[in-house]
């Protein structure tokens, strides 16, 4: 078996690429897949803190590229999940330190011994996006149901299609079903129709994602505790070829809306 390389990108910043990469990495590893997540956001490293691995970093991506260490030495193994590895970004360098060919080499070296390589792309459509996309067999474009995020996603999809890159799939993050119901937010159907690419996941807005990031413990660790956690596992299963139907998201219950903590109740939409 040789690994599939999947790049997570978006165009617009802050839409949830790093959150998706961390949670998908965890979800796939919980499905017994051998996963490497690569933080390609050189200079703005984040994936390490989202995964709670920041204290275990010795070397980084640029150290590997510049020959200061071997690839294996830079990879941090997650003690909670032995199938999951992180290849961290350099924090004190900039994106000119990485070329597309470097990413292709690194991924080729990793393919033999892993099932999935997930690359967390930087925002934008410049060099960082280019090298992050270079080794990809498939691309996940993350967007929010908002006008600017959808527009930027369309730009990225256009660039990738012009290069005839592998399959491109859409993830809609931070959906708020109660706003969609009132007509105050673009619906899943609207975004899919506008961008005209195949959907692979819908993740609701969920405060727990922020507390999970605070703790360095992605929601996907506890699979069924929340709709967002389940959404990440559904994407992982779809990547594994399972047919997982898209079920409508429940709206937050009254308690949750009032106090913002209850995770349980909700009315089916």
């Amino acid at each position: 078996m040789t690994a599939r390389v999947i790049t997570i990108t978006s165009g617009k910043g802050g839409v949830g690429k790093t959150t998706v990469t961390a949670n998908l990495g965890v979800a796939l590893a919980l499905h017994r897949q051998r996963v490497v997540v690569i933080d390609a956001d050189v200079g703005l490293r984040n994936l390490d803190v989202m995964l709670g691995l920041e204290n275990r970093i010795v070397y980084d991506l640029v150290d590997v590229i510049e020959g200061r260490c071997r690839l294996r030495q830079a990879m941090v193994r997650d003690k909670r999940l032995p199938e999951l590895f992180l290849l961290p970004a350099a924090q004190t360098r900039d994106k000119s330190a990485v070329q597309p060919a470097d990413m292709v080499h690194i991924c080729n070296e990793l393919r033999e011994q892993h099932d999935f390589i997930l690359i967390d792309s930087p925002a934008g459509i410049e060099q960082g996006f280019r090298y992050a996309a270079a080794p990809a067999d498939a691309i996940l474009v993350v967007t929010n149901p908002e006008i600017a995020a959808v527009r930027d996603a369309d730009r990225v999809i256009g660039l990738l299609e012009a290069e005839e890159r592998g399959p491109i799939r859409l993830i809609i993050n931070r959906l708020r079903p109660e706003l969609v119901r009132r007509g105050e937010m673009l619906s899943v159907a609207d975004v899919v129709e506008l961008l005209a690419i195949e959907l692979i996941g819908v993740i609701p807005e969920d405060k727990e994602i922020i507390s999970a990031a605070n703790r360095g413990e992605p929601l996907a660790f506890s699979k069924d505790s929340s709709q967002a956690g389940t959404a990440f596992h559904d994407i992982a299963r779809r990547l594994l070829g399972e047919h997982v139907p898209f079920t409508p998201l429940r709206e937050p219950g009254v308690l949750q809306r009032l106090f913002g903590f209850a995770r349980s109740g909700g009315d089916q939409t």
């Binding site: 959808v150 527009r151 706003l179 007509g183 673009l186 609207d190």
Partner: protein
């Protein structure tokens, strides 16, 4: 405010999600083709000029728009021909 306006019988504004969808439709069409709204106007004027050299058309009703199917854009010109009988008097 919006609710109040609606109560007072003002024009019901479509919800903002629908507005976003319609605005995006246009913005994406322009982004994808790099044809600006101004260029679209120019195209329309020149199409009218060329065609009316040969056939009588209703210049006020000409529409030049984008249509999108999946990720393919096309330019659609809808050019109503003038019914010969309705032509300006001189042609009788």
């Amino acid at each position: 405010m919006k609710g109040l306006k609606r109560l007072l019988g003002g024009e019901a504004e479509p919800p903002s999600g629908a507005i976003a969808r319609e605005r995006l439709r246009l913005v994406l069409a322009h982004d994808r083709t790099s044809i600006s709204p101004a260029l679209l106007e120019t195209l329309k004027d020149e199409i009218i000029a060329v065609i009316s050299k040969h056939v009588a058309i209703d210049a006020n009703d000409v529409r030049v728009t984008f249509s999108q199917t999946a990720r393919e854009s096309r330019l659609v010109a809808d050019i109503p021909l003038l019914n010969p009988r309705k032509r300006p008097a001189s042609s009788e």
